[in-house]
């Protein structure tokens, strides 16, 4: 009986399908992994308009940096998807 079970188990292994091929998930560019920084705030005692303008322009720059990263994420996704679909 033991041998019969052993033979049956061995025969059942024929039903298994070996999938030796694995597609690794693609890495994103390291630059995109950096979070967008917080917007710059003014010191409470600010009275000069130039300090305000400097802060505002810096925040605009921060926005454009983030926009560039956001766009790049979109491109990255589309490209990786296209590459993945070519593999099928």
């Amino acid at each position: 009986m033991r041998y019969l079970i052993l033979v049956l188990v061995l025969l059942l292994t024929g039903c298994s399908t070996l999938v030796p091929v694995k597609a690794p998930f693609p890495d994103a560019p390291s630059e995109l992994a950096i979070d967008c920084p917080q917007l710059k705030q003014l010191p409470p005692d600010t009275s000069k308009l130039t300090d305000v303008v400097v802060s505002v322009t810096e925040n605009y720059s921060t926005y454009y940096e983030c926009q560039a990263k956001h766009e790049a994420w979109g491109i990255w996704y589309k490209e990786q998807r296209r590459i993945y679909e070519e593999v099928k």
Binding site: K22, P29, L32, Q38, L49, V54, T57, E58, I83
Partner: protein
């Protein structure tokens, strides 16, 4: 069948062919060339021949299927390897684009700050920023409270 993956092709191929051709030879000896010294063992050779032939055909079929799967796996692996290289190339292109864009943004930022310094007197000349304006700007820069992450 998965166990076959661990055995080299040549050994499997040799074994399958041995069984198959041994089956053919034994069958021919048992059924066709049934003469002389083989006559007393006719039935034994026939049974052995059929068993070997059936096993040989079965193994040959299994071997062919296994080889087809291996070929498909190899083809897929090659495609995946090519895709991985392509993916890395794409990453490099995207990384370069982002870095260039950010560099450009920073250049503009530096240029604007220089301009602010140059025109400091004009900008500050006619205006003092009230405390309330600073508070509003800071609130705007702080973003929405209670964000969910």
């Amino acid at each position: 069948m998965w166990m076959l993956a661990f055995i080299p092709d040549s050994i499997i191929h040799g074994f399958v062919n041995s069984v198959f051709y041994a089956g053919i030879i034994a069958s021919l000896l048992g059924f066709v060339f049934n003469f002389g010294f083989l006559r007393p063992y006719r039935l034994l050779v026939q049974v052995l021949g059929i068993m070997l032939l059936v096993a040989g055909v079965y193994f040959k079929g299994g071997y062919e299927v296994e080889m087809q799967w291996r070929a498909r796996a190899a083809e897929l692996q090659a495609k995946i390897d090519a895709a991985t290289v392509k993916s890395q190339e794409t990453n490099t292109v995207i990384q370069t684009k982002v870095v260039t864009k950010i560099k450009r943004v920073k250049e503009v930022q530096v240029k604007l700050q220089k301009e602010i310094v140059e025109k400091e007197k004009i900008i500050n000349g006619e205006c003092v920023v009230p405390k309330e304006a600073v508070e509003i700007l800071n609130k705007a820069a702080e973003g929405p409270q209670g964000e969910t992450k």
